[in-house]
């Protein structure tokens, strides 16, 4: 086995020192009846060449596309070459969680910079080293809001939140008989203010809305903050497309008390949904309730500036069942990708990329609307995703697109019965005008619905 540095002679020397005849003798602590009496019924070892081919064969069984007009929580953006080059350094990708600060300053300083940039993106004051993904970030945000807003047991969730984030929220709230998760209806593609008002009361700890939401529409955080704060609840913005932070105001500056969501867009490919990058940013006053790893600045014995994991009194290894969360491993290396991405982009890059995304999506929408079978549905400001009603047959449209190696937008009816027959489209900086024209051309040829 090429990964094992053993030779028969050395093995003998090790066993002789220990004083056992063979390695199996060291299994004495496992009662005989509990041991496996046979070999595992699995293929035997493979050479690097064989395994590489086998895995490539699997990768090649996936259909490849010239362009994907599908977002819905996983966005295809350009990834600068510097990112893969940097994270392939062993010092970054093989290191453990930075428990020993004297020899982990690289990771610790990176996390401190990453925390700074996530706070900058969201307009809030404190964040952590990352969470798993958008869905679990919503769970951590909701549970944290309940801890912060003491003696309140209800979390209101806009139906505009990504349906899978809502699924994950439901799963995690189910065990808590004392907590309530209540959905708020949509009106014209955004949170229905009347329904929200009707459900707001002094039991509500937090209200979670999409920014922009799953339908691509932006929620007016400033308008929502009024009624939410009036009952003493926290407004939580949930962002599934981090590029939108270059277009819309930082949620912390627009009225949100907490911002969470998914930041995979910053330097990652869609990767079949993971590893992604959950984030949660909060106000300074709430920092001791935040879940997960947090890095802080300090000095060493010689007075040199350095970084350490801090506020650990919140965490599972100290507080056990009283911890703010059970999370320990997070998405470290994905956070590093995001940090490098944001540093490369800088303020101009983030703004410029956002403008390009908005421009491409607007152009795609305009061109699609020139087709006789497409019609507008929502009249809300959007970023790089939008909904159109399609009078034709989605299956026929999909088939026509796939034939030309294009992946069309999402059939919304699967998640929102009221939007059956509607398609959620997405365009990013990766979509050239040529790709958009090809799509429109293909769609123009789809036979009309019977």
């Amino acid at each position: 086995m090429r990964y094992l540095p053993s030779s028969p002679l050395e093995d003998r020397a090790l066993l002789d020192t220990i004083g056992v005849p063979n390695a199996e003798a060291l299994l004495a602590g496992i009662p005989e009846p509990l041991r496996l009496k046979r070999e595992l019924d699995l293929p035997t070892q493979g050479s690097e060449q064989e395994v590489a081919w086998q895995m490539m064969d699997l990768a090649n069984k996936n259909t490849r596309f010239c362009a994907q007009f599908l977002g819905a929580g996983a966005y295809d953006h350009f990834v600068p070459s510097a990112i893969d080059a940097m994270i392939s350094r062993q010092e970054w990708f093989t290191a453990y969680t930075p428990y020993q600060p004297e020899i982990s300053q690289g990771t610790l300083q990176h996390i401190f910079e990453y925390q700074t940039l996530i706070c900058d993106l969201t307009g809030l004051e404190v964040t952590n080293a990352s969470l798993y993904d958008g869905g679990t970030a919503c769970v951590e945000a909701a549970l944290m809001a309940v801890r912060v807003a003491k003696k309140r047991n209800t979390v209101l969730v806009s139906r505009g939140l990504h349906p899978m984030y809502r699924d994950v929220l439901r799963t995690n709230f189910a065990p808590h008989d004392d907590l309530k998760l209540v959905e708020v209806d949509l009106k014209d593609g955004v949170t229905d203010l009347a329904d929200l008002q009707a459900k707001l009361n002094s039991d509500v700890a937090a209200v979670m809305v999409g920014y922009p939401n799953f339908l691509g529409a932006v929620e007016d955080l400033t308008a929502l903050a009024g009624p939410v704060h009036a009952v003493g609840a926290l407004l939580v913005s949930v962002t599934q497309e981090a590029f939108a932070f270059g277009w819309f105001e930082a949620p912390g500056k627009a009225g949100a008390d907490m911002a969470c969501g998914e930041a995979m867009s910053l330097g990652n490919k869609p990767n079949y949904g993971g590893p992604f990058l959950g984030f949660l940013a909060v106000k300074d006053a709430h920092k001791r309730e935040i879940p997960g790893r947090v890095v802080g600045q300090t000095k060493d014995l010689n007075g040199e500036t350095g970084y350490v994991l801090t506020l650990t009194a919140r965490e599972q290894h100290i507080r056990r069942d009283k911890a703010t969360s059970n999370i320990c491993s997070n998405q470290g290396l994905v956070a590093l990708r995001a940090n490098i991405f944001m540093q490369l982009a800088g303020p101009e890059g983030l703004r410029g990329l956002a403008e390009q995304n908005a421009a491409k999506a607007q152009y795609l929408r305009q061109r699609l609307l020139e087709l006789p079978d497409m019609e507008p549905v929502l009249d809300q400001p959007f970023f790089n995703e939008f909904v159109l009603r399609y009078r034709g047959d989605y299956a026929a449209l999909q088939e026509a697109c796939l034939k030309e190696s294009l992946l069309p937008g999402l059939d919304l009816g699967r998640f929102y019965p009221e939007y059956a027959g509607c398609i959620l489209w997405c365009a990013t900086e990766l979509h050239t005008r040529q790709m958009i024209e090809s799509l429109v051309e293909i769609l123009a040829r789809v036979p009309a619905a019977v």
């Binding site: 600060p101 869609p270 060493d300 069942d321 800088g346 390009q356």
Partner: protein, 509 residues
């Protein structure tokens, strides 16, 4: 190894007007601004402005202040820092995988689905458990999923149970998880060898009696939803009465959760499904060598028995056999099964840390059944070699046969006012990453050493020689240890001030 050059925060190097990214020319009309004025992005306060070369140098220099697995032995007990094969990285970067969209129809991602299905099959055979979900992103997420399965099981029988039993030697994530799943934690005392106490234990110091497993089961009975047990436990000892423990718990229909953090000691040697485990998680970033990435991403698949399969998170990857003519080789197609009415629901937005799962399957295929077992045995031999060579100089608090890791105590050194932290920091001066320290809590001044199978005799000897040298220094020149590290980029850090007056981000002066 470490570059003795200070790298400032990137913010201190930012100069307006520099850029590290050029955008493509916009080939469509510029965006119309439809945003309400108060929702227009107002600006950034911290985003730095630098060129690509400066940013690459920044991250390269910072990287040289890190210690990685390729730098040398990284004997963090319980963390399993083994070699990270480069093939795994290459495969995970194949565009067929990385470009695939999680909302794409199943027919377009047959390769992904086959990959997930195949990994599930490997994990089933390795654990002896028939149900698998690959969704949880890390060990703690796997624990939470597993405990939610236990909850769903009891609810399906109309029972709402309130207690989870957890040994005092368990990882902190266990009680934190049980609390997140809405359970009350009752602590199980452990015996001096770290295994679970069946009978009541009297604390030698304060004379307090702590109830053992037998008492707790008879008193709490049907209040117990289950127990979370790490096996081998956190001192590297196989819970030799595991079958009796699981039988006792099953007698009141309480389920057995096995924390699989130490599963790398059992792969190919013993299967949890064969000794009474109902549900467990695996840490693929430990057992299957996927890289730790400075804190993640990991993957924490959950394997379970048939009794818990109906409750697995949706979707579940399934294989259908495509009908073929007589004499033809059967073909398969794969799909996500969402129609599972008893499922606990989703635990990840999509299907888990897919890229990590790709690496884990690559590891499995490379090792094969024979290589997996060889790796297990080699890891056990290595840990026992260290145990044998160091047990004179360092106190072995627990004398039971240990498997893949060995836990020493600092009691010999404490006589010279040298403690575990000093020993750990001194190791840094000698070019090693320290072992896990002060865990498990049941061993005073614990030094938990796990060499993994990735070390050869030379490396093991060099590490043992260093540990013996440090033991000698502790007797002859303890101050050297109190001062350590002196050869790392920084000296010991003031963690108290960091927590009291937290500075958690850079702000413009």
């Amino acid at each position: 190894m470490f570059l003795r050059q200070r790298e400032p925060l990137i913010f201190d190097r930012s100069v307006p007007g520099k850029r590290g990214m050029d955008l493509p020319k916009l080939d469509v009309p510029a965006a119309k601004d439809t945003r309400p004025a108060h929702l227009r992005r107002s600006g950034f306060d911290a985003m730095p402005e630098l060129s690509e070369v400066e940013i690459i140098r920044h991250f390269t220099r910072l990287s040289k202040w890190n210690y990685g697995v390729d730098d040398g032995m990284y004997p963090l007990g319980s963390c399993t820092m083994k070699h990270n094969p480069r093939l795994n990285e290459k495969v995970a970067g194949m565009p067929g995988f990385t470009d695939s969209h999680p909302m794409a129809p199943d027919a377009l991602v047959q390769g992904n689905l086959e990959m997930l299905y195949t990994l599930q099959e490997w994990l089933k055979e390795i654990t002896g458990l028939p149900g698998v979900t690959l969704q949880p992103s890390a060990g703690a997420a796997g624990e939470l999923t597993g405990v939610m399965l236990i909850r769903a099981y009891h609810l399906s029988k109309g029972a709402k149970r309130r207690v989870i039993l957890i040994p005092d030697s368990g990882h902190g994530t266990n009680p934190a998880t049980a609390a997140m799943a809405g359970y009350e934690v009752v602590e199980l005392p452990s015996l001096p060898d770290g295994t679970i106490a069946f009978d009541d234990v009297t604390d030698p110091v304060n004379g307090k009696v702590r109830k053992g497993l037998r008492t707790l089961v008879s008193e709490l009975g049907s209040e117990i939803a289950g127990a979370m047990i790490t096996n081998p436990n956190t001192v590297g000892v196989f819970e030799y009465r595991f079958k009796e423990i699981s039988d006792l718990l099953h007698s009141v229909d309480a389920l057995v959760y096995m924390d699989g953090a130490n599963m790398n000691a059992l792969v190919g040697v013993a299967r949890p499904g064969d000794f009474g485990v109902d549900v467990m998680h695996l840490n693929l970033h430990k057992t299957m060598s996927t890289p730790h990435g400075g804190g993640g991403p990991g993957a924490g698949p959950v394997c379970c028995g048939a009794n818990l399969m109906p409750f697995l998170p949706v979707p579940v990857v399934v294989r259908d056999t495509v009908k073929v003519g007589e004499g033809e080789v059967p073909r398969h197609s794969y799909r996500m099964d969402w129609d599972r009415p008893q499922s606990i629901g989703k635990v990840h937005t999509f299907y888990g840390n897919f890229g990590i799962l790709v690496r884990a399957l690559t590891y499995c295929l490379s090792h094969g059944s024979d290589g997996l077992k060889e790796a297990t045995l080699r890891a056990i031999v290595n840990a026992n070699y260290i145990r044998t060579r160091l047990k004179g100089a360092y106190a072995l608090h627990i004398d039971s046969p240990s498997l893949h890791e060995v836990v020493f105590s600092d009691t010999n050194q404490a006589k010279h006012d040298v403690h575990t932290l000093d020993i750990a920091k001194r190791l840094i001066d000698y070019g090693y990453h320290p072992p896990t320290i002060y865990f498990p809590l049941i061993v005073p001044g614990a030094l938990m050493i796990e060499p993994t199978e990735s070390e050869g005799k030379d490396e093991l000897d060099a590490f043992c020689d260093t540990m013996l040298q440090i033991a000698k220094e502790a007797e002859e020149n303890p101050d050297v240890l109190h001062q350590a590290p002196t050869l790392a980029p920084l000296r010991r850090m003031d963690e108290t001030t960091a927590a009291r007056k937290p500075v958690l981000r850079w702000t413009r002066a």
